[in-house]
Amino acid sequence: MTAASASRPLTPPRPSRAVLRQGLAVIWSGMRRQRLLSTVAVVGAVLWASATVATAWAIGHVTGTIITPAVTAGSVTSAELWTIFLLLAAVLLVNVVGVILRRVMATMAGFNLQAGDRRKVTRQYLRLPLTWHHAHPSGQLLSNAHSDIEATWQVFNPLPMAIGVVVMLVIAGVQMFVVDPLLAFIGLLVFPGLFAANLVFQRFMSPLITRAQQLRAEVSEVAHESFEAGLVVKAMGREREETDRFRVVTHDLRDSLIAVGRTRGVFEPVIEAIPTLGTLAVIGAGTARVASGDLTAAEVVQVAYLFSILAFPVRALGWVLAEIPRSVVGHRRVDAVLRAGGSMEYGRHEVTGAGPAHSRSDTVEFAYVSQVGREQLGADVDHGSVAAQGPTERVPAIRGVTLDVPAGSTTALVGPTGSGKSTLTNIVLRLVDPDSGTVQLDGIDLREVRRGGVPDVAALVSQQTFMFDDTVLGNVALGTDVTREQVEESLRIARADGFVDHLPHGMDTEIGERGGTLSGGQRQRIALARAIVRRPRMLVLDDATSAVDPSVEQAILKGLREARDGMTVLVVAYRMATITLADHVVYLERGEVVDQGSHAEVLERCSGYADLVNAYSREAAERAALAAEEEGS
């Protein structure tokens, strides 16, 4: 939490030669995905560009054909005046329609693309394994789904105008060639100039933007983590230290954005100056041509005028070019998520049995991958994130465990804190795959089971419950097809009916983000009801009543005992009341099964187990003895 520990070293991303090409590829892919809207937007841009050129033409036309003769004649008819007005209004109408089509359609295309990417990215978040989530801070993932995607498609805002500018340039270019190819050639030298400037710009810009987007993600990460830790920060009075931590990343972001601005600040005036210098070159060369008698003065003026009306719109071209590095970087970061591998493969089998399920895990090994460095999304240009990943290390958590949970049995998994019990339950339910060994449900290897097949059969109530920002009802049902009565019934078994009835709207009360309006014990009971309502054939309870007081815990266990017919139960437990529910006890230490059998057998054979389960009563006895001694003395 010191400032230093918060600021992680950033590997400088390699500058890419191909940013422009990649940027155009991103734009092209976007236009293809939004073909109709893009086409209409381009049509609008063409209309706008034509109307803009036509405005100059129309003013020239009415000046030549109506105004000048009228002034010379000293009289004008209202018909002539109407002609002036209507001609200009007509061009204006085309212009306005063009602008509306161009901007509205481009906006829609851009936001459609953003929404589409957000759907894809969030689907990845749901699909990628938990190990991937461990390596990617939540705040960074939020930033990816928002700011990176926005960065990718923001280029669609100035894009159609830039396309319109290209159209204008083509019209102007053709006119210039008609007037004088040599002048046109000199004028069009502007383009290689723009291109060269842009190339230099992209080269400098993309590493800067990469860093800025990464820092944006880190600002989001620190903020997300720090706000999640709100209670602890307050309870320990560490607001100042947290603010210092946020300051480090915020200032890094500020400096990197200023660096971006410095580069962009050079680029824009340059892009703006080049066409103007081109105009001057045309005039200079044109004057020489007029002097040598190859051209008339009027022709040169016409070309110069064409250039001058382009001066402002050409800036739009600059905006697009300036946006491209951001777009490419955003795209890379999004793409890194979309292409992240290591997803869980599913088979096609159903777990079809009826009645209690049989779970068997054979010589299961599992190690956590602890990452020393930090992955930086899309930092590497070419391929994926392999090179950007820090060194990893495997930490064994489960070592050669064989766990058989017979159908209809209740098995207790007991072991000291950190012995691997939760990890084992995650493996049994295929929340993670073991590194070696097999896990079966009713004799079917879990890897053969279709997606969603395991949750249909087995339900987990984990130690730390997660509540959705929804009603009690919604949190229990989670979209499954159950009746209100069934939800009520399961709330009753979980002994949650009492407090739920007291909520302002009963089951329909919104419980806030993460169930923030409830206590830990209340959340645990709703989580329990969530599992029970599904009538699972196997129920896995991971110390699921730790925050519930003993009398309620007993009532819940009693309810479960009655309801458990037709259910296999695997329960992680510390306390006697829970353990005595079990037919079979498996005692774990440091990821290995040390002993198993009935409670009485293990209690007799295994001293570690006896120490654990008798800790309270032994403590009570010792205290009582001590108290008696004190009183006696």
């Binding site: 509306i100 509205v104 906006t107 309870a235 200079g284 040169v300 920002d469 815990e553 403590e619």
Partner: protein, 608 residues
């Protein structure tokens, strides 16, 4: 029947007690925004001068080009090559000067804008931490994050370019107006008459746009909230196979955002196009009226054409200004939300300088007729009159929902009582400085949050000045050294997101070590060992007992082993303190505690 209730009420109409929707006017928002980011104003004078230089250059160039063509190429008696070359070189010089001035302007603006916004982020971040837990929890974390990230980003476009462009546009409008009046007051009048309806229209469009952009900002917050759920709830979502439902909820939020963003943009396009239409119509009307005037001989044809050039000089900044006003509404929408956070009063506030500073030492706690009710909710604690003597170990017991945790939160001033007082050594908690309070009183909550850092950094959170040896010593004293040795990298083990590489029990061990290292005068444990195995729990309890001797401690526990070890037990039932006294007195009294203890004891007896 259980369709996912994916859509929630728009933020602000429900729940959130953090401000920032529509209450602040545009000008007030800007004023407050500049006040909060003084960097935005710093050196603005020089920037404006440089910007004016750049603008003059930009206006000058077409003028020079025009002069060159009129007096050089079209010069009577053939093109004047010498004049043209001079003019071109001059113009090129102006271009370079303009570009350089523009570069300086860009640089200064970027610096000012980013520095100002960094300050704004920091202020908002700090203030969010200063808000009470209760106020914080009225808004989703994702939405809070958006207030220091994307809401601030929204402002940057405007403060980088918009504000200055608005200024320059105004200057350009003034210059153009002056020139127009000089050329032809009548036509100038015509131009202004044509633009009058636009002023009315802008005044109508602006608030509409403001609302639309405000809606977008709120939808971004909702969207981040929904996405955050899919990331933080990854385990539950997988365990229950509810990916599709979660996806549907996120899609609804994403779609709401898309719609609102498009709606706002379409409105902004309409606002721009109406400005453009007026500009175009103005040109047409000026041409018609000008023709009539020219025919009457009141102006020359040349003057008319020159005037058209001026109209263009006038309409361009006007259009630019409408565009920037649109962008400004976007920025203001973001600004409002950030300012909304900053200006939300911290309801449980540090008394600051006026507060009392207390020396460290044995602590006495008194609850004086304390009651607490959640805002708009029922009373969860009432008539609490309790005194906790120095150097005593107190256990608070009671059923879930009886008000135990509320007592702990009042004691640590995470909340203030609705009535009555909580006193620390005779001083009302509300008068005690936070620095002093947090040094003396530390709470270990049930779910101690861990940061994605190493174990040692997480423990050091309790006392930032501690070194690795201090941390190791604390762990040894708590009897946790062998646990740490069993971890892959010992103290240097990375604990992962929210500490998820550790089990819930292990996270609690870290939280306790953290509080122990903080070494407070009063330690409040709220179910701090609920997920720890019994023998470790007993061991820690003993260690803490030895170490908290001479200190006051308050433990909230379901497991009555804690109560047995305490000097005094406070029994809470339905928001009231019903019994108080040592375990051995209460256990035989035949009240609530007797029943609780019987239930507890029976659980321990089975099988052993």
């Amino acid at each position: 029947m259980t369709a996912p209730t994916a859509r929630r009420e728009p933020e602000g109409t429900e729940g959130s007690r953090i401000g920032g929707s529509q209450e602040m006017g545009t000008l007030d928002t800007l004023r407050r925004g500049f006040e909060l980011s003084p960097e935005l104003r710093r050196g603005l004078g020089v920037t404006v001068v440089l910007a004016l230089v750049a603008t003059v250059g930009r206006v000058l160039i077409p003028f020079v080009v025009q002069q060159t063509t009129d007096n050089g190429i079209m010069a009577t008696g053939g093109p004047d090559v010498g004049f043209v070359l001079t003019a071109i070189l001059l113009a090129a010089g102006v271009v370079l000067l303009t570009s350089f001035a523009q570069y300086l302007v860009n640089l200064r603006l970027f610096k000012a804008a980013e520095s100002g916004l960094a300050t704004l982020r920091m202020t908002a971040f700090r203030h969010i931490h200063d808000l009470s837990v209760l106020t914080q929890s009225t808004e989703r974390r994702g939405a809070l994050v958006s207030r220091v990230t994307s809401d601030v980003d929204t402002i940057s476009m405007f403060v980088q370019f918009g504000g200055l462009m608005l200024l320059i546009s105004t200057a350009q409008i003034v210059v153009a107006t002056t020139l127009m009046v000089v050329y032809s007051p009548l036509l100038a009048g015509v131009v202004y008459l044509c633009f009058l309806p636009l002023v009315v229209l802008i005044r109508w469009f602006q608030p509409m746009l403001g609302r639309a952009y405000g809606e977008v900002r709120a939808r971004v917050g909702d969207m981040l909230g929904a996405i955050s759920e899919s990331v933080v709830g990854a385990v539950t979502i997988r365990a229950y196979g509810v990916e599709e439902r979660t996806a549907a909820r996120m899609d609804a939020a994403i779609e709401d955002h898309r719609r609102s963003a498009i709606r706002a943009q379409v409105r902004s396009v309409l606002a721009f196009v109406s400005g453009q239409s007026f500009a175009g119509l103005t040109t047409a009307v000026v041409l018609v009226v000008g023709t009539v005037l020219a025919v009457d001989g009141r102006i020359s044809l040349g003057e008319l054409l020159a005037f058209l050039f001026l109209v263009n000089l006038f309409t361009q900044p006007v259009l630019m200004a409408t565009e920037i006003l649109n962008e400004m509404q976007n920025a203001v929408a973001g600004w409002r939300r950030v300012i909304g956070v900053i200006d939300t009063p911290a309801d449980v506030a540090d008394p600051g300088e006026e507060g009392v500073d207390q020396e460290r030492g044995p602590i006495t706690v008194e609850f004086e007729d304390v009651a607490y009710a959640y805002p708009g909710g029922e009373t969860v604690l009432r008539d609490v009159d309790v005194t906790i003597a120095p150097r005593t170990r107190v256990a608070i017991v009671g059923e879930t929902g009886s008000g135990k945790t509320t007592m702990a939160k009042l004691l640590t001033r995470l909340m203030d009582p609705t009535s009555g007082r909580v006193l620390l050594d005779g001083v009302d908690l509300r008068a005690l400085r936070f620095d002093s309070l947090r040094r003396r009183v530390v709470m270990v909550p049930q779910e101690g949050f861990l940061f994605d850092q190493t174990l040692v950094d997480n423990i050091r959170f309790g006392k930032p000045t501690a070194n690795d040896e201090d941390v190791a010593l604390a762990l040894t004293e708590l009897g946790l050294d062998s646990w740490v040795e069993g971890l892959p990298h010992g103290l240097q083990t990375q604990v992962g997101q929210r500490g998820e590489s550790l089990s819930a029990g292990e996270r609690q061990l870290v939280a306790i070590a953290r509080a122990y290292l903080a070494d407070p005068d009063l330690l409040v444990l709220d179910e701090a060992t609920s997920a720890v195995d019994p023998s470790t729990e007993v061991r820690i309890q003993r260690a803490l007992e030895g170490l908290t001797r001479g200190r006051t401690s308050v433990a909230i526990a379901h497991r009555l082993s804690t109560a047995e070890a305490a000097d005094t037990v406070i029994v809470v039932d339905q928001g009231r303190v019903v019994e108080e006294g040592p375990h051995r007195d209460l256990v035989g009294r035949g009240g609530v505690y007797t029943a609780m203890y019987a239930s507890w004891a029976s659980q321990q007896q089975e099988g052993s």
